[in-house]
């Protein structure tokens, strides 16, 4: 894991002092509310329905046990004993007091954490594949380049007052687990087809929100040392040309869409050509310095398969089911990555109590080289676990309510906070997730259905990624009543696609039944071993639409 050097340490301390001073200038009237707002947002402080909300950055989703314990402590001391992990791998506290924020920032700085640029019209927290450094299909760990981008984008003198927020995601693997195509910039580590050299493929203009778009590749291959100059060129074109007349048209995706990918690319390349690379880029030694922190931990030499794991699975069906769903193959023999589900049936997706955070931290310390990951699906990962230890881990997770065996299944639902917390919401989303979970609670049934991603947003802003859910649910408000629009066929992977609307919106009570009907069509249509999304892509929307139509007639 990355560790701060004296400069990083000094920077976060300076930022805490700066924020305290900004609060003081707001209180004495030097700054107006309008002037203060972007300053507090750039430090993760939102004003929500019931209270302030504080969003803490978990850069590229990587946490140490010590950091997780500090989050637990903050949750206990300044919140109501829990926090919410988000689709951008961050952590949100829903109930802090504004006057406590500087103290919280100090506690975060003590463990090399911060809230910098978790909101506001600037470059946000950089996200990454949660199996970075672990996955078998990876060319290179994307976290060093994420850390380089984190530093470069922090308090950027030119790009801190952009037309709109700007999100960057990176992956080093073939299979895209970071939804890079739905980001303003998606960065993929690739190998040059001829030279074998490692570099970056850069996509621009993806995004969700009210106008979902899939990112377009603007550079097939960018040599590694040129990265910061190329990013500077993209940002400069966007900062100067992005629309500022309408906040709903201000994201870079709209600029790319309006002028066309070719024109956007040629403007970026023209700008890039005028830049003096050496005066902008980080030295290769600097990237190497960061890379050294992400060297693989000291794995033991183990047999590929663990006999202890096989024996435990054979003798304990509940453990067997969990091991069947929540483990991911690891590149080191005898190791697995464990997904700890924050989606127990009937609780808020992505919430964890301080007590649970401590259990997770202890397990990471004891069994996973002190390391944790936050996933964009709002779960936690123990990235490097000996298969021999899996049963002991599971036994510790069960009493903490953390052993739900549903990773990737129909009850592993992504949901934004919605009307329960969010000032922008038009409908509830957490209760919808809970109702669907209850409908599909039966474990056998979930296993039979297999991989299926449901994603729910409480308004058009799409924080719950509904556009790229296999089944997406969008909560709207029609004449004072919540109405849920259902989309089908969205895909968050390298085959990124935006789902299509199935039919008219439904009242909340009818959503679980509609999901049931969709699943019914899949079960009737699927070929052997075919996943839900594959069936949808093969048979198209019509059988689903037909079933959906029947359902809305029945409801009339």
């Amino acid at each position: 894991m990355y560790r701060y050097d004296e400069f990083d340490e000094r920077f976060v301390r300076d930022r805490v002092a700066q924020f305290s001073d900004q609060v003081a200038r707001r209180l004495d009237g030097s700054l107006t509310e309008d002037e203060f707002k972007p300053l507090r947002l750039k430090n993760g402080v939102y004003l929500q329905l019931h209270a302030y909300m504080l969003r803490i950055a978990v850069p590229y989703g990587t946490l140490s046990s010590k950091q997780m314990r500090q989050l637990a402590l903050i949750g206990e001391r300044f919140d109501r004993g829990y926090g919410h992990f988000t689709t951008r791998q961050n952590l949100q506290f829903n109930w802090p007091k504004l006057r406590d924020v500087p103290e919280i920032l100090g506690l975060l700085a003590d463990v090399e954490m911060h809230c910098i640029q978790t909101s506001g019209n600037c470059i946000r927290n950089v996200t990454a594949d949660h199996f970075a450094g672990v996955a078998q299909d990876e060319i290179e760990d994307p976290r060093p380049v994420c850390e380089l981008i984190r530093q470069w984008s922090t308090a950027h003198p030119e790009f801190s007052y952009l037309p709109r927020k700007f999100k960057i995601a990176a992956t080093g693997a073939q299979h895209d687990r970071a939804v890079t195509k739905a980001h303003d910039i998606g960065l993929r580590i690739v190998r040059h087809p001829d030279s074998g050299e490692i570099g970056y493929e850069i996509s621009v203009g993806g995004g969700l929100g009210r106008t979902p778009m899939i990112g377009k590749v603007v550079r097939d291959f960018l040599p590694k040392p040129d990265l910061l100059a190329y990013l500077e060129a993209i940002m400069r074109v966007y900062n100067q040309e992005g629309r500022r007349d309408n906040k709903y048209k201000a994201r870079v995706k709209i600029l790319v869409h309006e002028i066309g990918t070719e024109e956007f690319r040629s403007r970026v390349e023209a700008e890039f050509a005028t830049l003096d690379g050496p005066s902008v880029n980080a030295d290769p030694e600097e990237l190497a310095r960061i890379e050294a922190y992400f060297a693989p931990p000291a794995y033991e030499t183990l047999p590929r398969e663990s006999a202890a794991l096989a024996a435990a699975r054979a003798s304990n069906p509940a453990f067997d089911r969990w091991a069947g769903t929540n483990l991911t193959p690891h590149r080191a023999d005898g190791y697995s990555a464990v997904t700890i589900s924050l989606k127990p049936i009937g609780l808020a997706p992505g919430d964890a109590t301080s007590e649970q955070m401590r259990v997770i931290a202890d397990l990471a310390e004891r069994y996973s080289f002190d390391e944790l990951r936050v996933t964009h699906a709002q779960n936690i990962v123990l990235p490097h676990v000996r298969q021999d230890d899996l049963h002991a881990i599971w036994e510790a997770l069960v009493p903490a309510g953390l052993a739900t065996a549903n990773s990737g299944l129909i009850t592993d639902i992504i949901a934004c906070p919605g009307l329960d917390y969010c000032a922008l919401a038009t409908a509830r989303s957490i209760p919808i997730a809970q109702a669907i979970q209850q409908r599909f609670e039966d474990a056998e049934r979930q296993t039979e259905i297999g991989e299926l991603n449901i994603k729910i947003s409480g308004c058009i802003n799409a924080c719950g990624h509904h556009h790229v859910g296999h089944i997406g649910i969008l909560g709207l408000e029609k004449r004072g009543i919540e109405s849920y629009q259902i989309t089908l066929g969205g895909d968050a992977t390298e085959n990124a696609a935006v789902g299509e609307i199935l039919g008219p919106g439904l009242p909340a009570e009818e959503v679980p039944g509609a999901i049931e009907a969709i699943v019914g069509v899949y079960e009737a249509e699927r070929n052997d071993g075919e996943r839900f999304i594959e069936t949808v892509k093969r048979v198209g929307l019509s059988p689903f639409k037909a079933a959906f139509k029947e359902l809305s007639h029945a409801a009339d």
């Binding site: 050097d5 400069f7 000094r10 920077f11 300076d14 930022r15 002092a17 700066q18 001073d21 900004q22 200038r25 009237g29 030097s30 700054l31 107006t32 002037e35 972007p38 300053l39 019209n121 530093q151 470069w152 922090t154 308090a155 950027h156 003198p157 030119e158 790009f159 801190s160 007052y161 952009l162 910061l228 500077e232 400069r236 900062n239 100067q240 500022r244 005028t274 003096d276 005066s279 902008v280 880029n281 980080a282 030295d283 030694e285 600097e286 310095r289």
Partner: protein, 173 residues
Amino acid sequence: MLLIDREGSATEAWTRADGAAIGNLSHALVGWDALPEALDQKSSDQKIGVLVPNSLPSEALKPFFDQLALVAIGFPAFADGRGFSLAKVLRREGFRGTLRASGPLIPDQFDYAIACGFDEIELPEASASRQSALQWQQARGRLSRTYQRGYTRDGNILDRRRLARAAANSPAG
């Protein structure tokens, strides 16, 4: 109005001309539309400055660089960051005169403005009445070191780390 530069509050030397009517003003500040006409009338000891919108392409201004002592870039709102990029590009293209940010900026943007190539900030009265020159001075260097290379700011962190590496690699003694 308050004019602020690196040293604190500064005295305004420039007078806004009415259209292109620069008369015998020693430092005449004209709008972008009036610039060609003003330059035609310019006498050898007069200095001309121009106030440009932040959406102006740098190429439009480039032919006039040698004849301009000051370019003031308008900030319609502090949250509109286009002026930072325009300043950076004007400097790169070779403008060596004074660069002024003109509009309701906030002290927290002072370092950014200077890093992008500005020399001074012209604040409207409504901002100046709330934010003293002292507050602007205090906001300088609040983030003691920043990461980006290639901006007008001493000792960025990338350069510092490079120096530290060089020192560590050079033979001791």
